[in-house]
């Protein structure tokens, strides 16, 4: 019984750290706040994160990155790029609405960073690269030429991430809806031209 419980404590702490990254950026992820949010006992910090705060922040980015990659991979396997976009937008709308617009994207939060966590910048850049590759592959899989797929994947990521920030500020998912509508048109045109 002890191993699953340990895993759960570690994952609960990382999930809290990822939420704090979303809300406040990396500077807001402190050991005290993670303990408070996750309800984990203080001893678990040194047990699960012997390198302390930095390990907690990078672990949270890795967890959030892998969760998105699993989701994108699973959806892209059985859906058109347009359906992938709908799924992605619905995911972010739900996250914003169920958190009273406090939770945005943890990887964007990790980009807003003062450089206090070694290796964080490379991890963030690598995460965005992987997400970008998955979206571009979904487009080339629908016959879109490689160069156009790469540009369009950048726009999908940029516009979605930007709309999450605007939606958070407006406490309304209208920016995400507007962006989704426009991106849908670009996707339809790119796939039709393929």
């Amino acid at each position: 019984m002890s191993e699953p419980k340990k895993v759960r404590t570690r994952e609960r702490m990382l999930a809290s750290a990822a939420d704090l990254l979303s809300t406040t950026g990396s500077g807001g992820v402190t050991i005290d706040r993670v303990l408070r949010e996750s309800g984990a006992p203080r001893g678990s910090v040194y047990h699960h994160f012997p390198d302390g705060r930095a390990e907690m922040v990078t672990g949270a980015v890795a967890l959030a990155s892998e969760a998105m990659i699993s989701m994108l991979t699973a959806v892209a396997e059985q859906a058109t790029p347009q359906e992938c976009l709908d799924y992605l937008v619905a995911f972010w709308k739900n996250r914003l609405e169920t958190s009273d617009f406090t939770l945005g994207c943890p990887i964007v939060g990790a980009t807003i960073d003062d450089g206090s966590v070694p290796g964080l910048h490379e991890l963030v850049a690598g995460t965005f690269d992987q997400w970008h590759r998955l979206i571009a592959e979904s487009l080339t899989g629908s016959g879109v030429a490689e160069a156009r797929a790469r540009t369009l994947a950048t726009v999908i990521m940029a516009a979605t991430e930007g709309a999450i920030v605007l939606s958070r500020a407006a406490r309304s998912t209208a920016p995400l809806d507007d962006v989704s509508l426009e991106l849908r048109q670009s996707l339809d045109a790119a796939v039709a031209a393929a």
Copy 2:
């Protein structure tokens, strides 16, 4: 001589606070850091910002907001929406490149916030609203119908802000270039259909 010097000190402190907002979010804007970055004497905090840190953060958002509004208004008066977009993208590319990709958008930084500054959220929402209105007006001024101008203005803001984050992560302005290319096509189509 004393009034201009006082104004300069206050503006220098606010400019430092706005840069810190861009880099680290609102949590990274502390009185000590602003003093260190601006080189202002400690006594100037209580002189210029009697309400302390919160007043410094909201003042920095107001300064950054007004600077962008002045720029957008001046450019929109004598340029097409496409030229405005080029100007905006060039401005952000220059800011990223000359800061070694540490300075993004201070208003996005202010959105990544833990709620410790009263009124900050409303100020951020109001700023995005004003920017949005200016961009939408530039589009309707070129004959684009109002509903389409509003949606397109949201996409321009979201994609540009998102691309600034991606460019910062990639330490490259390629995401901004890609987004600029795609937005240009949408703008051309919208203006041509007008």
